[in-house]
């Protein structure tokens, strides 16, 4: 039993991302989309945010949203996925929690 958590807001704007992080479990996956992609830009604050992730949680970011916003240096911990990858993540995990 594992879940895909999809988040579309950066932590600077709302509690959404922080609440999601609190409920992540080993084996889960996290996907940042839309404005959520700002949370994986390479800044001090973001590096701090991602330090204490549970073990065995995979992090992904939707590339079209990064490109649209002109973010070129996402943190390396994040795998870049296209729309097809988004679909694949949904299928690979038992359920999808959309945090918005």
């Amino acid at each position: 039993m594992s879940a895909l958590h999809v988040v579309n807001k950066p932590q600077s704007r709302s509690q959404t991302l922080r609440s999601c992080l609190r409920l992540l479990q080993p084996g889960d996956a996290l996907l940042l989309i839309e404005d959520g992609v700002y949370a994986c830009a390479d800044t001090g604050e973001n590096r701090l945010l991602w330090q204490n992730l549970p073990a065995d949680v995979s992090c992904h970011v939707l590339q079209p949203d990064l490109d649209a916003r002109g973010i070129t240096l996402p943190l390396t911990a994040f795998a870049l996925v296209e729309d097809a990858g988004f679909v694949d993540l949904v299928c690979r995990h038992d359920k999808t929690l959309s945090w918005f």
């Binding site: 039993m1 609440s19 409920l23 479990q25 359920k95 929690l97």
Partner: protein, 128 residues
């Protein structure tokens, strides 16, 4: 509208996490409507109040003052619909100084581990 009953498949466990404060937005109302619909169609329902959603549980709401419908008035109907599993996230209550506040209905105050367990045992989780 004919509602196609979902009776012909065994009931699923659906968890609804209501995360927004009342009246500023209509999402809390939309979440409550989903909970009621799930219950009417015999699903096993978990109703969780988290983040600003715990503000919906405050006692003494008088939304008539802003021409709004009283959300907490509907909480009483939940048990009639068979919705018994109602939870409030302890950390969210704590952050807002509500850990000892009188709440509009009896809820099970739960911690992170219990919330994670709820999610694991759910077939689907909706967050509004």
């Amino acid at each position: 509208m004919t509602e196609e009953a979902s009776g012909n498949s065994e009931p699923r466990t659906l968890t609804f996490i209501s995360r927004r404060s009342p009246y500023g937005e209509d999402y809390p109302r939309a979440c409550l409507d989903m909970v009621m619909a799930a219950a009417v169609f015999d699903q096993t329902v978990n109703y969780v109040f988290m983040d600003d959603g715990v503000y919906q549980l405050l006692n003494g709401q008088q939304p008539a003052r802003i021409h709004a419908k009283d959300l907490s008035a509907h909480f009483g109907a939940l048990s009639l619909y068979g919705v018994e599993n109602v939870f409030a996230d302890h950390q969210s209550l704590l952050e807002r100084g509500l850990e000892n506040a009188a709440l509009a209905m009896p809820v099970d105050v739960v911690d992170n581990a219990r919330l994670q367990q709820l999610i694991n045992h759910s077939d689907q989780v909706f967050l509004l």
